[in-house]
Symmetry: C2
């Protein structure tokens, strides 16, 4: 690609880099492994198992993905694993094992390491996902690289590219708290009440593993992704990869009440704001079934997580946004990008 010789990766942007990797993979990939571009890669079934395996890697870097003071070492350990577990949930898989690559400066306190390990291993126990190996190296900043493997609940994992026109678009849980938590922790927002509930979404996130399992086993999931880059970006992924469009009703978004109050105090529109809230670890899915059928599937398993219909998949290629039936301008994504678009 002439002309790129002196440019930096920040100038070409993340999407360009990912496409270069995808092209290189298409030229090289052999055999029975899935293409890159979903929450996880898909592998053949284990001996004795009926369904495929999925594998996912997430790297978290100090300063990029978390800041000192926002999380205790134990909370960070938990959060690192949950980010990966959420990718498995998005594929409708149950965790099997993970590998840990941990890079630290030599000056890192032992107490930090012990706290991190405690939080990580408690989460490993809680979600029945043993650590099976890894690597420990020296680096100028802490970074945590986790590769996680899961077993699918069904013969076809829940992929991003499987949405059909006419599908209902649904969200689990609520959105907005993850973004507001960073404002509260940075003292940019001072909620009168509900502060603990806001911060909990950042410090003690919960992956939607049992929800994904119940919905997938019930045959209710067509396409699925977890909200990690924010709704605006993640619905875009589903539409692009499925070759479809969507119509999303901003007024229907399940924005947490505590976020509505806080944003009202600040005079901001909580709907467009929450549509840019990343690392929510909620599931965004499309389904042929009625929302009440999905709720019944969860209820049968004793799960009380809300399911909210927020729009539908269309045959166009665009994502159109409405507010209670009236078209509105697409909200801008106010989210962090690893490498800004040139």
């Amino acid at each position: 690609m002439p002309g790129h010789g002196r440019r930096t990766i920040a100038e070409v942007g993340e999407q360009w880099l990912v496409e270069r990797i995808q092209r290189a993979v298409r030229h090289s990939a052999t055999g029975d492994v899935a293409v890159i571009g979903d929450d996880a890669a898909i592998l053949p079934a284990l001996r004795g198992a009926r369904h495929p395996m999925v594998v996912s890697t997430d790297v978290l870097v100090e300063g990029t993905h978390w800041r000192g003071g926002h999380l205790t070492p134990a909370q960070l350990g938990r959060r690192a694993l949950v980010a990966n577990l959420s990718d498995l949930a998005a594929m409708a898989a149950t965790p099997r094992w993970f590998m840990l690559g941990l890079a630290m400066p030599p000056s890192q306190p032992v107490a930090w390491f012990q706290g991190f390990l405690r939080g990580l291993m408690r989460a490993a126990d809680e979600f029945d996902c043993p650590l099976i190996g890894g690597d420990l190296v020296r680096a100028p900043v802490v970074s945590i690289s986790i590769t996680i493997c899961g077993q699918c609940h069904t013969a076809r994992p829940a992929r991003r590219d499987a949405a059909h026109p006419g599908d209902t678009v649904c969200l689990t849980g609520d959105i907005g708290r993850a973004r507001l938590a960073l404002d509260v922790l940075d003292d940019r927002s001072r909620p009168q009440r509900g502060g603990a509930r806001i911060i909990a979404k950042h410090r003690h996130p919960v992956p939607r593993l049992s929800e994904a399992s119940a919905l997938a086993r019930g045959g209710a999931v067509r396409a699925m992704i977890d909200i990690s880059d924010g709704l605006i970006s993640d619905i875009g992924w589903i539409c692009r990869l499925s070759g479809v469009g969507a119509e999303i009703d901003l007024a229907a978004l399940p924005v947490a009440p505590v976020v509505r109050r806080c944003l009202a105090d600040r005079g901001e529109d909580c709907m467009t704001w929450a549509a840019s809230s990343g690392e929510e670890f909620e599931l965004l899915l499309t389904t042929r079934r009625r929302p009440e059928d999905l709720r019944a599937l969860l209820r049968d398993e004793g799960i009380r997580t809300p399911i909210t219909p927020i729009g539908r998949i269309t045959s166009g290629r665009r994502v159109r946004w409405t507010r209670a039936g009236h078209p509105v301008a697409p909200p801008r994504n106010g989210l962090f990008r690893h490498f800004s678009q040139g």
Copy 2:
């Protein structure tokens, strides 16, 4: 552990950290996955396959594992994969797939990224090991985290803990060039000839995959490890984990002729020096069979890699060093440690 509250990880050392992780894993691990402490973790067989899978993670950090100028981006891409392939070789497994976690500063040149990807994917093609997914993130320095999965050639992977008293200890290839390459690249050593052959061991390393496969399928391998921390350290691993000792003859070490000449010019003892040479990616193995039987197994597959007997496994717990039959003091390991011992 009281008293560690204010200490740094450099003070307690790498071994202490690894033991803490192993303890935490023993308290938590469930099911059919292997314990931490070998070149790779061992997993159950895939459907349709007879033998187990192995998984390994390696993290390479700029400044710690390589320095600019020592490697082109393409050489670095190759080397990153080879370091992982060598771990699979040490388990007697054939590569199946890998995941890539790549962290880079936004200022990283696009040309660097393209070169790295080219070298990485060429190696992926050469060793038939497709990239199946990963993560791309921002960080202050480049770091490369690879998780690789392989399929074992036999029902029992080649582990570190399987050496028996009476086994012969053998090395593939030659040692010393990997360490000397760094001296040459840093201009601390100026060989009169053979410079290219020395540097090749650093810039274009070759994993001993076909050697490991031929030896394991021939039933010739008892315990095996790849030389990544240097012979002194790696024979120590086999002995500790197998509960045995060893007697190693320094005079028998297959030190590359070009290293012998260079060290003679410098007035240093090449044998003890080469015993501290890390990242050789050679195989250190123990066997009940005669060295000529091992050579025949390789010859049958058209492989001409030398196999050198360097000692034997003993029933004690110590590694004793001799030189042509005479006991000598154990050589000191002059190698880099990620976190120095306190």
